[in-house]
């Protein structure tokens, strides 16, 4: 069993619980390799996927994890703009809770929204991304993929490349990786690295070639095109020159490092197509591990198999 009732974020999350989630995820990974990929572990449990922000892969990954565990699944796509029009967050949350559900998986554009949700509902809450704050299940699946590849996380040297400031993936990865004993270096444009980030125990290096030389694996974050033109990134050409993971750049390094990307990728922007499709990349393993990780989290938080009523 895990020490926290919810999975809100990985800041101060216990190391042994991360290990439990990872170990359980590997056993579910075996389930996913079977011809029949479904287990009755969460039969009778109802999980709502409450998405206030568009998401395809995270939502599908969660939904698949729920279905593989035989839970009942409801998807609720609320646009945050409708909340701005007056429908309150509290009402939405309490309406869903009133339908007797066991857990809420929530994606929301505002940092802290899942913490806010705990004030209004009793259900178990899993954070599927809260704005520019955390995305703990992504970090879990990234760590699972590293463990699968290297057999360990402790002592690994991990580079996180790109827009650290506007991404939630980086922060959860930092919390998780530091807790598990990895070293983390961030690399990206200085104005896209949050201030005071080194207080979290990471180093910052704006020289991508030095980071590639140092790292065992790099996690490449998506450069959102909407960041262009507002003074954050001068141009795609400039970004690629300084931070793009290109075939040529990788070829300069003797060591073959592992390439990760949480998706969705902008091929030709932060990562070359040929790099994404190379043997170095474990991007599709991450996707599969995402399902296994989410199965593990749902299973552990929802208490596994329930007794049949007598």
């Amino acid at each position: 069993m895990l020490q926290n009732r919810h999975l809100l974020g990985l800041e101060n999350y216990p190391r042994e619980d991360i290990q439990t989630i990872l170990d359980t995820a590997f056993s579910f990974r075996e389930v996913l390799d079977r011809p029949v990929k479904k287990v009755p572990a969460l039969q009778g449990k109802t999980v709502v996927n409450l998405f206030f922000e568009n998401s395809t892969r995270t939502r599908i990954s969660f939904e698949l994890a729920q279905k593989r565990l035989s839970a009942d699944t409801v998807n609720f796509a609320a646009s945050s703009s409708s909340l701005k029009k007056g429908e309150s967050f509290k009402d939405t949350a309490q309406n869903i809770e009133a339908m007797k559900i066991d857990a809420v998986v929530m994606r929301h554009p505002t940092p802290g929204a899942p913490w806010h949700l705990t004030k209004f509902v009793d259900a178990i809450i899993i954070n599927a991304g809260d704005g520019t704050h955390e995305h703990p299940t992504q970090a879990i699946l990234d760590m699972m993929s590293l463990q699968e590849k290297f057999g360990r996380i402790e002592g690994l040297k991990i580079g996180i490349i790109g827009d650290i400031r506007h991404g939630r993936v980086a922060l959860s990865n930092i919390y998780g990786l530091i807790t598990m004993g990895a070293e983390v270096t961030l690399c990206g444009p200085a104005n896209l690295i949050p201030p005071f980030i080194t207080d979290l125990g990471v180093t910052v290096n704006h020289n991508i070639d030095e980071v590639l030389e140092w790292a065992d694996a790099i996690n490449i974050l998506r450069i959102q095109r909407e960041r262009m033109g507002i003074g954050l990134i001068p141009s795609i050409r400039e970004y690629r020159r300084l931070f793009g993971i290109t075939t040529e750049r990788l070829a300069q390094h003797k060591k073959e490092i592992v390439i990760m990307h949480p998706g969705p990728m902008n091929r030709g922007v932060e990562i070359d197509s040929s790099v994404a499709d190379s043997d170095q990349a474990i991007i599709l393993d991450q996707v599969l591990n995402g399902v296994a990780s989410r199965m593990s989290i749902l299973y552990l938080l929802l208490g596994g198999k329930i007794e049949q009523p007598k």
């Binding site: 309150s88 554009p109 940092p111 520019t132 005071f196």
Partner: protein
Amino acid sequence: MDIKPLPEKLLLHGGTILDPKAQRSFTGDVLIIDGKIAEIGSVGSNTDSTKIDCSGLIITAGFCDLHVHFREPGREDKETLASGSRAALAGGFTRVCVMPNTSPPIDTPEMVGNIIDKAADLPVHIHPIGAVTQQQKGFELTEMGGLLETGAVAFSDDGLPISNGSVMRMALEYAGMFDVPVINHAEDLTLRNDGLMNEGRVSTQLGLPGNPALSEITMVHRDLELAVLTGSKLHVPHVSTAGAADLIRRLKAKSQNITAEVTPHHLFFNDEALKSFDTNLKVAPPLRSETDRQGLIQAVLDGVFDCIATDHAPHTIEEKEGTFDLAPFGMIGLESCFGAVNRVLVREAGLSLEKLVQLLTVQPRRIMGFDDDLLQVGKKAELTIFDPDLKYTFQVSDIHSKSANSPYVGHQLIGKARITINKGIIAKNH
């Protein structure tokens, strides 16, 4: 809280009388007849007056708050002049200055007159602060002369900074003719950007957009230099950063006309508290780092700040129940003020109680030119009687504002106003 008319003869018996003007305190009685102080000292108990035992309590001048938002007109669902007065009395405040960022804003003599009329019969003295610029848009000056004639006591576009330096200069020059302070909400909006909390380690940990200390420091610096240049009165509100406090310390040496206030919440909380994502802690300027908080406390000890002001800013539960980005900036603060600053400044930082009382009584009154010598025979009774030792957990039941957006709920405070006497009434806290 009970609010009743003052008895014809009231004897406050056996308290510690703390006279912040004369800077002395002594054990004694205060006799009030027909709403005026009739006798101070050893009155004895053999009179036919109603007697209140004040042993263990401190009798002093009524507290004065230069910075409150009572939301009338326009947002009477959050607060009214009447409900705000109740909150003030509960906190021991007999006199407040209301900020003009109402809807519409207080930017004409007629609007000022409206506030004066509505407040006339309320149990708290309410002084309107007039807008600096028309509709608080930051460009055209208001009819300051007319605003003052109808009862305004100072000028501010509070809530919104006067971003244009030339406008701020003109405001100081023009208000300088009348020798009243201009109060500028000092935040450089281009540096604040979309900041929702203090920029620092905590904002990075929480993924919330940060508002850097520099957004306050640069604008406070501009305002201070403009005050030196024009020689006019500048009052710096709700200072949140140690950097701005240092600038005030330095520039005060160059002008007698610079004053500054600090809020209880910037002294009580730091940005670590935001880890709860409690929207009641969302305030402008934001709660800063522990280093800033300590810097502000040191500045109080050094006499840099002239007064404590609450920036009492009511918002509805519905608004504060929203997510962090949508919730409005502001928290209420009248009821919790004394217990918070007494705990932080006197109990934890070693400021004398006498100094704290000065920051709540004579010093704010001097900034606005109000009578600051209240403990005199013949004066209308405007008194606060507080218990400096009471330790209690601040609760929703301590709140008398129409709104309840207080982050102090659940926190231990030390000290509480027990009785407030003002304008012919006596208010008793339970």
